[in-house]
């Protein structure tokens, strides 16, 4: 590694990553389980209905964390793809490939729960407004990335092509975030991440925060687990190739 002195250089070593994963994985799985237990309990049994939306507001506790994670996962993938393209770090190159299905699942959950919420509240399963359309584009970016990476016989070429797609797709992230402010949309504007503070009552913020924590720990666990699998797979392939030669 050219910048082995830096922090990235130190953790970009797959051996060190595997050692770290042994500590992180059990903690992350346990934390995710605890947060999901507490979050789901509060979300379904110990939080009030909404003054307008009634009980359907509980869909928010799945929908919103899933949407945040869909964006978060994509941003981390694009950042890793950038580092991988420029500095050729092995872990950074493998990271996007490892977590792409996780991000696609978060996006899918966000779209499905949003649809189930839209029908009773708005009166439509789906509308082509700027927010919904840009999130659908995000889902296609995830799926397109996975297909593209696997479309090459040479794994490295696939990863490089995928990295280019990820970087080009970053443009979609601010469009998703600000679509509800820039254009008239059926989807309402942001409730939490906004300039003048959250517009969600604190009795509803608690389950939302717990579920957000649960999704984050789940993501950490899945990311470490899948990245470790990618490293093992790469090592197994290298061993097999050496055996043939």
């Amino acid at each position: 590694m050219s910048n082995s002195g830096s922090i990235i250089g130190r953790f970009a070593n797959p051996g060190r990553f595997l050692a770290l994963a042994n500590y992180v994985l059990p903690v992350a799985w346990l934390a995710a389980a605890l947060f999901f237990a507490a979050g789901l309990y509060v979300a379904f049994f110990d939080s009030p209905p909404d003054y307008q939306q009634g009980e359907t507001v509980r869909i928010m506790y799945i929908h919103v964390p899933a949407a945040w994670m869909a964006l978060f996962t994509y941003v981390t993938m694009a950042a890793a793809a950038f580092v991988g393209l420029i500095w050729k770090h092995v872990l950074a190159e493998l990271y996007a490939k490892a977590v792409a299905p996780v991000g696609a699942c978060f996006t899918f959950i966000c779209l499905v729960t949003g649809s189930l919420w839209g029908k009773p509240m708005w009166g439509a399963w789906w509308v082509w407004d700027a927010r919904l359309t840009s999130v659908l584009v995000l889902f296609f970016l995830y799926v397109g990335y996975m297909v593209l990476v696997d479309a090459f016989d040479d794994e490295q070429r696939g990863i490089n092509a995928g990295a280019c797609l990820l970087l080009a797709g970053v443009i979609n992230i601010p469009v998703i975030k600000f679509s509800v402010d820039w254009w008239n949309t059926l989807h309402q504007p942001a409730s939490i991440i906004r300039m003048d503070g959250a517009t969600v009552d604190k009795t509803m913020l608690l389950p939302l925060a717990l579920m957000a924590g649960a999704f984050h720990f789940l993501f950490i666990a899945l990311a470490f687990f899948r990245l470790r699998t990618e490293i093992f797979a790469r090592r197994a392939r290298a061993t097999r190739l050496r055996g043939v030669a």
């Binding site: 050219s2 009030p48 209905p49 909404d50 003054y51 307008q52 939306q53 507001v57 928010m60 950038f82 393209l85 420029i86 500095w87 009773p120 509240m121 708005w122 009166g123 439509a124 509308v127 082509w128 407004d129 700027a130 970087l167 080009a168 970053v170 443009i171 469009v175 820039w182 254009w183 008239n184 949309t185 059926l186 309402q188 504007p189 942001a190 409730s191 906004r194 517009t199 969600v200 009552d201 009795t203 509803m204």
Partner: protein
């Protein structure tokens, strides 16, 4: 590509900047088409400019708040009449059918339909809710305190001319 690290960095950043700029320009050019609905004020402006998108009979979407006190239910045929407002301008709307549960006075709505002279005849009616989430008791108390309407305050912002 036989580029070194520094060249790869410069090349990638250059491409990203170009892409960002291109997208910004494209979105700016599309800004009117990307909107899901027009507010009554926007409809008025487009009408005065003889814009083809809001001529009589042409289908488009109208969004805003149901003006409090304007909802009229007729006894036959599920026909309702109400006024959609953005606090700048009012638009009379007629809709025949079952309105969504959230539909009420003061609520945000998006109606699909077309203008017949000065009445907007809607064929689809969707409810638009605001970004506030509050337990019912608290909302009742706040309403008592401020005399606040439970509408969508953000639609006022959307009423600004583009």
């Amino acid at each position: 590509m036989a580029l070194n690290k520094k060249e790869r960095l410069q090349f990638t950043l250059l491409i990203l900047c170009a892409l960002g700029l291109a997208t910004a320009i494209a979105l700016f050019a599309l800004r009117k088409n990307v909107s899901y609905f027009f507010t009554p004020q926007q409809v008025h402006e487009l009408r005065t400019m003889d814009d083809a998108r809001v001529v009589d009979g042409r289908v488009f979407r109208l969004g805003g708040l149901v003006k409090p006190g304007s909802l009229e239910k007729t006894s036959h045929d599920l026909l309702i009449r109400f006024i959609v407002t953005d606090d700048l301008r009012d638009q009379k709307v007629e809709y025949k059918g079952i309105a969504p549960d959230l539909f009420r006075e003061g609520q945000g709505v998006v109606a699909t339909g077309s203008l017949q002279k000065d009445v907007f005849v809607a064929t689809v009616l969707l409810a638009k809710h605001d970004e506030k989430y509050t337990p019912p008791e608290l909302a009742k108390e706040m309403k008592k305190l401020h005399g606040e309407k439970t509408g969508d305050p953000d639609d006022k912002k959307a009423g600004k001319p583009e």
